[in-house]
């Protein structure tokens, strides 16, 4: 769906994007992460044809923008970081204008249907400048979905929204995902990406560090799984027993709580459970804790461990 090879953008003072190679598959939700100044917006702008790459190749729907500009643009819906509008138009006029740009037939039904979905139908004849931030973001979504795009490109779609607004936008994204739309989301709100993305790419200082699904990313930064076990009747031999289990990387016993790091290559919890019970302890509870996307992201983008990414990860 989206494919780039060695995509580079150099400005006189800085190399904003350095040889980025990424592939977004049809029908997936692709999370595009990176700290401020990582080059995400520049990459997105190049994908949309707003900025010309210095070098490298990019294709959308298997073709380049130069070859089929109008067909590609007709198949993309974009929600930018800042919801822009035209001051002189009401929300309905704004959407109607965009429907005309996309040469849509029977635009009225589609506009009304989408406005109803996001709860803006009764505000259709008000200018977007009078809308709240959340309403404007929803209107941006409606604009992007008007022409039923095959690819949705979202730049910080939930930034500045209250929890209710985030929930509504999440609902829209999930709905689009179900209908088979490919979604490319750039966001700082990692929990949102964690919830929705099938695969995630992390950019840092213009470089694409990694592109994988969440489990793959977690495994890249930490090859172990944390298991917290709550036990009763802790025998003195428990620590020795745990040390003898080959798949346990590390463990720490604190009263009735045991924190164990297990090799993540396979699920060894059953074996662990048997060993603890055999030592004479009684298991009250067991909880597996995987690294969150935030922890994974921080590990990838932390300058102290960035050596990890220099060539080896990608």
């Amino acid at each position: 769906m989206i494919s780039t090879r060695n995509l580079t953008k150099t400005y006189p003072e800085v190399e904003a994007v350095k040889q980025v190679t990424l592939n977004v598959r049809a029908g997936e939700v692709y999370g595009f992460l990176g700290p401020n100044g990582a080059g995400k917006s520049t990459t997105m702008a190049m994908l949309l044809g707003l900025i010309k790459p210095t070098s490298g190749e990019l294709s959308l729907f298997g073709t380049s923008l130069q070859d089929d500009y109008f067909a590609i643009k007709n198949a993309i819906g974009v929600v930018g970081e800042n919801p822009y509008f035209f001051d002189e138009m009401t929300a309905w006029e704004f959407l109607s204008f965009h429907a005309d740009i996309f040469m849509m037939e029977s635009k009225e039904n589609r506009i009304n249907e989408l406005m109803e979905t996001v709860g803006l139908r009764q505000y259709a004849n008000i200018r977007p400048s009078e809308y709240s931030r959340g309403m404007r973001q929803k209107l941006s979504f409606v604009r992007a979905l008007l022409h039923k795009p095959d690819l949705l490109m979202l730049d910080e779609p939930v930034s500045g929204l209250d929890p209710h607004g985030i929930r509504q936008i999440r609902g829209l994204i999930e709905e689009q995902k179900k209908s088979g739309t490919t979604i490319f989301i750039s966001s700082h709100i990692l929990s949102e990406i964690e919830r929705t993305a099938d695969r995630i790419a992390i950019m840092h200082k213009g470089k694409l560090l990694v592109e994988d699904n969440l489990d793959g990313l977690r495994y890249s930064v930490d090859q172990s799984v944390r298991v917290n076990v709550e036990v009763a009747n802790v025998p003195e031999s428990l620590s020795r027993v745990l040390s003898e289990i080959p798949h346990i990387v590390d463990h720490n016993i604190d009263g009735q709580h045991i924190e164990i790091r297990l090799d993540a290559s396979l699920d060894y919890r059953a074996e662990l459970s048997s060993a603890i019970t055999a030592s004479g302890a009684t298991i009250i509870g067991m909880e597996t804790r995987k690294a969150s996307l935030e922890e994974t992201f921080m590990t990838f983008t932390d300058d102290n461990v960035i050596g990890l990414s220099k060539g080896e990860v990608q």
Binding site: A45, D67, V78, F85, E88, D100, I101, F102
Partner: protein, 280 residues
């Protein structure tokens, strides 16, 4: 996509942008204020002429309407060109231009759409001015000469040229402020040089050697030669004068050159937008 299909889509997109911009201009109050001011200035000039005729019994010019009409056209053209400057630069500054380019809008359809909207308003205003001048001629009892219609034809090209300059300036400018500054400086310096040259040419220098007036006359004379080839105002003046002299070849040459310059600036705007990009 075939070239025909691409051109068709570009035209359709340009029409949509055109409709929006035309609507904004026509439904805004400023165009009416500006056209009222323009026509009022025209009426004042004509009234002064008529007073002069009444008191002296002489016609001050070969054509009573050509001079006031020139002023009306210059004011209208400059306003609409300025309007294009602000509209495009503001759209880039606010991010609305980027928003348009998210969809199937390219630099060709954008520039054509913006340009044609202003040009359509300009054409409608010319028709409005024609009606006003007809009413004035009837009230004054002075017939509008046939040459006036030729001048109207020329003014179409002058306005088209002026607006294309405005579009060009805005497509390559970074902000509303810089676009406004560049455009107003261009217009003001052009008018100032032409007015200064006309004023200085009436002053006779006292000495031929190291006379600053003479030097300035020569300098402005050279600048004027360059401006004659570039300035839309010069084309208007030159074309009207040649037409009143009955030199139709020169008149048509002016019309043709205005058209060529207009096209040059439109193409430059399209290229300029491509190079400059849609982001601030």
């Amino acid at each position: 996509m075939s070239d025909t299909s691409k051109i068709y889509k570009q035209i359709q997109t340009a029409i949509t942008i055109h409709k929006r911009d035309f609507r904004i201009t026509v439904f805004g109050p400023i165009i009416y204020i500006m056209s009222t001011i323009s026509i009022t200035i025209g009426i004042v000039i004509i009234r002064n002429y008529l007073s002069y005729i009444e008191s002296n019994g002489l016609y001050p010019m070969p054509d009573l309407f050509s001079f006031p009409y020139r002023w009306v056209i210059i004011l209208t053209g400059v306003y609409l060109a300025f309007s294009a400057v602000v509209a495009i630069a503001r759209e880039r500054e606010s991010g609305a231009m980027e928003l348009l380019f998210y969809g199937p809008v390219d630099n060709v359809s954008y520039v054509i759409g913006k340009y044609s909207a202003q040009l359509t308003v300009y054409c409608l205003l010319i028709i409005l001015y024609l009606i006003c001048f007809f009413i004035i001629s009837n009230i004054a009892g002075v017939q509008i000469p046939a040459s006036f219609f030729m001048m109207m034809l020329l003014s179409l090209f002058t306005g088209a040229y002026l607006i294309s300059v405005g579009v060009f300036v805005s497509t390559i400018s970074k902000s509303v402020r810089s676009a406004t500054l560049v455009f107003l400086t261009l217009i003001a310096s052009t008018l100032l040089i032409q007015a200064s040259q006309a004023w200085l040419s009436n002053i006779a220098p006292e000495s031929d050697y190291y006379n600053p007036v003479l030097l300035l006359q020569q300098l402005l004379g050279w600048v004027q030669v360059v401006l004659t080839w570039l300035s839309p105002f010069s084309y208007l003046n030159y074309g009207v004068n040649e037409m009143l002299r009955g030199n139709m070849v020169a008149f048509l040459r002016v019309v043709g050159l205005s058209f060529v310059f207009c096209m040059t600036f439109i193409v430059s705007s399209i290229i300029g937008l491509k190079i400059r990009g849609v982001r601030q």
